[in-house]
């Protein structure tokens, strides 16, 4: 039995100290995912608190043999959907201008461009541009991409979280990526057109 399973068993028996250990073990991961989803630093703690409260009350129904991580991600993503639905967050900017420098960054990030070499204002600019591009995606597609790329979950793990087949997950990823790329290409063309004028 892994540590989590043992912890969960103790939590299911009402051991509050065990639940505290569980919270401490996973709080950073939940905070990170919530922030990636909602992008509102001031809201992260409240949403994360709701996630753990839901976990606490739902623990008696949780099957020990199931994946706790998948369950935790599912509850976190659903809590973020609820928040975004309440806020009725719409795509704020669908067409942003993308400089050649930013485009080069997105094309090569992770290979030759190291973000730590950028100064703070440049990092902020690139982050905001990326955020604007991402804002065109519906929350469901955005959460899927975040879990895939930022949490580095495999297709297999995503099937458990979204309760879909591997082919359905791949199709959703394909569509989300192509939608994001289309906005990126459009922004590049717009910027190039501006320079020609």
């Amino acid at each position: 039995m892994t540590v989590d399973k043992e912890l969960l068993r103790r939590c299911q028996l009402g051991d509050q100290a065990a639940f505290e250990v569980l919270v401490k073990k996973h709080e950073r991961r939940v905070f990170g995912l919530v922030y990636q989803m909602v992008r509102q630093p001031g809201e992260v703690e409240d949403i994360a608190q709701e996630v753990f409260t839901k976990i606490y009350f739902s623990l008696p129904q949780f099957r020990i043999e199931a994946s706790f991580e998948a369950w935790l991600y599912r509850i976190t993503v659903n809590q973020c959907y609820d928040y975004l639905r309440k806020r009725k967050r719409q795509a704020q900017v669908t067409e942003s201008d993308l400089s050649e420098e930013e485009a080069a960054f997105f094309e090569r990030f992770g290979s030759i461009t190291q973000p730590r070499h950028l100064d703070i204002s440049k990092r902020l600019e690139i982050r905001q541009t990326a955020e604007r591009l991402l804002s065109v995606l519906p929350p469901k597609d955005r959460s899927l991409l975040i879990l895939k790329e930022m949490e580095e979950l495999s297709i297999e793990e995503l099937t458990q979280i979204f309760k879909s087949s591997a082919s359905a997950i791949k199709l959703r990823l394909f569509r989300a990526r192509n939608q994001l790329k289309a906005v990126y290409e459009k922004s590049r063309k717009k910027e190039k057109g501006k320079h020609r004028v």
């Binding site: 509050q16 505290e20 919270v23 401490k24 709080e27 950073r28 905070f31 990170g32 919530v34 922030y35 990636q36 630093p41 992260v44 703690e45 994360a48 608190q49 709701e50 753990f52 409260t53 606490y56 009350f57 960054f105 997105f106 094309e107 090569r108 990030f109 992770g110 973000p115 950028l118 990092r123 902020l124 690139i126 982050r127 541009t129 990326a130 955020e131 591009l133 991402l134 991409l145 975040i146 790329e149 930022m150 580095e152 495999s154 297709i155 082919s167 791949k170 990823l173 394909f174 989300a176 990526r177 192509n178 994001l180 790329k181 990126y184």
Partner: protein
């Protein structure tokens, strides 16, 4: 291996979860397929945009976060304890309703079957009657055809007699 199948492997390829053999097959295909090259570029580009959106750090949980979780739990406990039995009833009601629906279906099926079985004896006399009738008609037809045959023989013999009588009378007169 078809282009579509190989294209479906790109996500796994990007996450390095393909076997060595599959990787080799896909890389051979990638070398000559523009569509797959473009899709792989899309996967990498979108991953980079996502990473770039998080160049800043997510807020870290405060030291007393777990305590605030327990406070929230205590605040919600009463509310939860009120709704929990109802939620459990609702959760249990679904399988119970499903079992009841199946039981009702089986009951209805057996009822209809027994009704059909009860109707069958009424059909049997009809069948018997029709069989009797057909056999009776068959017998009558046989009698009738025998009569016709007898009548035919009688007619033939009468005709033969009628033909032979004048000849015999002529012989006698000679």
């Amino acid at each position: 291996m078809s282009h579509q199948n190989l294209k479906g492997w790109l996500e796994d390829y990007a996450e390095n979860s393909l076997s060595a053999e599959m990787t080799q097959d896909l890389e051979q295909h990638l070398a000559m397929c523009r569509d797959c090259q473009e899709q792989l570029r899309t996967i990498r580009l979108t991953a980079n945009i996502l990473r770039a959106s998080l160049l800043d750090e997510a807020p870290a949980p405060a030291a007393g976060f777990s305590r605030s979780v327990f406070l929230a739990i205590e605040q919600q406990r009463e509310n939860y304890l009120f709704w929990s039995p109802l939620r459990l009833v609702a959760l249990k009601a679904v399988p119970v309703m499903a079992v009841l629906a199946v039981a009702l279906g089986i009951f209805a099926y057996t009822e209809i079957s027994s009704d059909l079985n009860a109707q069958q004896p009424a059909e049997e006399p009809l069948l018997e009657t029709s069989l009797e009738l057909s056999s009776k008609w068959g017998q009558e037809a046989a009698v009738f055809s025998e009569q016709i045959s007898q009548d035919k023989d009688r007619v033939v013999s009468t005709l033969l007699e009628a033909e032979t009588l004048p000849q015999e009378q002529g012989k006698e007169s000679k």
